[in-house]
Symmetry: C2
């Protein structure tokens, strides 16, 4: 267990920006790429936060990611942009695609950006938050390297593809779902392994598709999707929208950054944004607050654990950490400081 340190948001953004610059990114690109990661840390999603600078950096150093990539945006129609990420840092591709989708949504009410030739783009919640701050509802997805088997199959052929949906509230906090399609994240299986615990046989299978309760076998095996064929179907559809329609790699064509860190992954993302100001709903804030109240008022299973809405815990952490500073692993901060020079 390493120690933690606390750092202000602006200081962390500056540090992560300079650390990314040390790998060859220009200052603007580094700033935008870092912003997505700092938002993740603000939400308390540290697995997708600035600790990623190190893994991104390893690939930047060997040319697996292109620090000097020129991202191209091709506006195909008023509402549609195709984004060629040119193998840039994924969070930078994500930010450019978000901007392209925002442009379409400002012009027509709805904007869609399909991004290809990308890499790991951080947590969807970061983009959803930025869109919601400006009044845009969002549906955002990405594909990923394969970890899930199709229902009825014994081999991993799909990614644990994340999908996010978010609706802003002009009178309060957005409601923000950011989920992947597996029953649990690999990190949770890794924690069971570290503690020497067995896992439920509903989390994963061995490499041949047989149920397992052993976390080591599960980590070498295949993740199980939520709801059986429903989670399989969702993961597949996210890949069709984010990977196939974007012109990116899909399914087994997606390269693993772990096995082939030197190769472009050619990941794909999709951003669908809707300008809620254009719906003509005068009472949007009142409706959003009523919606939240109906759920909060549900009689709870445990009196000490009231019902929450998606994103509520993350937004509460963000508010607390904007006030009190972001709590980070001391080793992660030390690494950034070394790179920032």
């Amino acid at each position: 267990m390493s120690s933690t340190r606390t750092i202000a948001e602006s200081a962390l953004l500056d540090l992560a920006t300079r650390a990314l610059q040390s790998y060859g990114l220009g200052p603007n690109d580094a700033h935008d790429a870092a912003r997505v990661l700092v938002l993740a840390d603000l939400f308390g999603v540290s697995t997708h936060g600035v600790m990623r600078v190190k893994t991104y950096g390893e690939r930047l150093a060997i040319g697996g990611i292109d620090a000097k990539a020129q991202i191209k945006v091709d506006r195909r129609s008023p509402a549609i942009a195709m984004v060629d990420g040119a193998n840039a840092v994924g969070t930078l591709v994500g930010m450019r695609a978000l901007d392209a989708a925002l442009e379409g949504a400002r012009a027509t009410g709805v904007g869609v950006a399909f991004a290809r030739a990308s890499n790991h783009f951080g947590p969807i919640a970061s983009y959803a938050w930025l869109a919601a701050e400006q009044g845009f509802a969002s549906i955002i997805g990405s594909n990923a390297s394969v970890t899930i088997a199709p229902t009825g199959g014994t081999e991993a052929r799909l990614g644990n593809n994340p999908l996010g949906l978010c609706v802003p509230n002009p009178g309060g906090d957005p409601v923000m779902l950011d989920m992947a399609m597996s029953v649990v994240a690999r990190a949770k299986i890794r924690r069971a392994l570290d503690k020497g615990e067995s896992i439920p046989d509903t989390w994963a299978t061995d490499i041949n598709g047989h149920a397992t309760t052993d976390p080591r076998t599960a980590l070498d095996g295949i993740l199980l999707p939520i709801g059986g064929y429903k989670g399989y179907g969702l993961a597949l559809m996210v890949d069709l929208f984010a990977g196939l329609l974007s012109g990116a790699a899909y399914l087994t064509h997606v390269k693993s950054w772990v096995d082939e860190p030197e190769s472009p992954q050619n990941l794909g993302h999709v951003f669908i944004l809707i300008d809620t100001a254009k719906l003509g709903l005068a009472d949007l804030a009142a409706r959003m607050n009523d919606f939240a109240a109906i759920l909060h008022d549900t009689p709870p299973v445990d009196e000490k654990a009231p019902v929450l809405l998606p994103g509520e815990r993350e937004i509460a952490r963000m508010k607390a950490q904007r006030q009190n500073g972001i709590v980070l692993d001391a080793d992660v901060l030390a690494f950034l400081e070394t790179r920032a020079g």
Copy 2:
């Protein structure tokens, strides 16, 4: 077990149209409303097919649904239409909203229609199919009366809201997911009850949120969502997009057509359509066929049960039934014939 009869698609469409006219719908409205149901029967989803004419008819007869409703489409921006269903038959509102979304997508590349003041709109697959035939990818959702409890809550406050995603294939069949958020449909619990079987305790809880293996208790109780808080989150987000943003009722505000057949439900739907012809993907058909082949080639758990893609079974049934006729419950056909006069 009642007997079955076989009828051609065109004859069934004509029969269902005339049956709906007998409740006061005009010929065009009846035809469009019937089309969604006939497509459901073609897919083999008879629970959402022409057998619904009877249940819709019961509400039409007592004014719970308005046979003469004038649906209004308000184009708010080039890509966004707000549809006031005016308490028309839900499948008719669905068809008008589909048309409004298609219009936006033709103009800008992406079209969104939000529909309010609607009723049960049949299966999403029917709309997704019609959009895919014209080259449009779709994301379609609807809210529903409450059957699911929020995670950590002991009272049903959300609908088992369906969500569909579909991507067309210019060189073959679309891939088409149409799913609700519960582990199983209520119909599956009802079948267990009919057979006198117990159910897994992961399907539903009693009315107070406690696990149950008794199908009667489960039917009187609360459905469990797939993946715990993930399925809860998805059901909630579908309600935000389909119900809240459309200006319809949401959560517990949605009226139950079973408990209050005489009241407007004020259901909401959302249709998001993307014109795949505008993406500039010259090789879309080849990519779609490759995508399907990768999944089909997965080593199967059971050699006799190859891996399928979402919608594949339904589309195969459609093709067979277009050739050989639609197999329907004889009582359902007899009812339509009586109404059609």
